[in-house]
Symmetry: C2
């Protein structure tokens, strides 16, 4: 499967959030058929939510599902431990990450729990996140509880 | 600090959810002063949410916070990997668990990441969860993605 359309889709979520004054991190959940099951972006600013990271908002929007065994999660930024734990708990077998430069996350943890991780650098996602961290370092620190 | 009032408080959340037809799992976030910062319960049925486990709903309700270093999370059931990852990511230093009989969770993971875990068996929480699993095994399986 060509990852580019889905990374672009996740980036569009990130850009939407940035334009709203929020954290520019987006995610898309995709079935093996290519069907998009859900999209989302960080909602810390927009909804005052500490738990709705991009990946979590995406999974929330994908709704209740019997299984995630057929799904791939695309995300613009390497998942934090909350989102990584969620990926493992939900049994999502594969994650495609656009940016590990601005935040490393914990890829070894995901792999140790059987998740296949593909790092596919996506220049717009990386550039937007870098710009955001420079513009709003305090908000970024709050989002990763690094305060 | 006496844990009983806060375990009772988390149980009241679980019971409220059970009475609504939902999963009977509740949580309370408490500051070291004893102030309750947030309460919540599983919202899978009530809000159709796959991510609002009891602990997540509690943290959502506690809102945006600069730090969790001063907080204790009380939960009626051992945290799943989503909730465990969140506890680690948020830097919550201490978790008190009422029930590890109906669901083990991954206490060693929490401890390996520096979280202090106290298991304080709370009979009403254990009995209610046992009753729920017997009554609605499919809903329970869905909630832990064991399908």
């Amino acid at each position: 499967m060509d990852h580019t359309p889905f990374l672009d889709d996740a980036y569009a979520q990130a850009k939407k959030s940035y334009d709203e004054g929020g954290l520019p991190i987006g995610a898309v959940l995709v079935a093996s058929t290519g069907q998009v099951l859900g999209r989302g972006h960080n909602q810390r600013v927009q909804r005052g939510s500490p738990i709705l990271h991009g990946e979590m908002d995406c999974l929330q929007n994908a709704g209740r599902r019997a299984s995630y065994r057929d799904a791939v999660l695309y995300t613009t930024l390497s998942p934090c431990m909350m989102c990584s734990g969620t990926i493992v708990q939900f049994g999502i077998p594969r994650v495609v990450i656009a940016d590990v430069e601005n935040f490393e996350g914990d890829v070894p943890f995901l792999e140790s729990r059987g998740v296949t991780v593909e790092i596919v650098p996506h220049a717009p996602s990386i550039a937007l996140m870098r710009r955001f961290i420079a513009e709003k370092p305090d908000l970024w620190a709050e989002d990763i509880a690094d305060t």
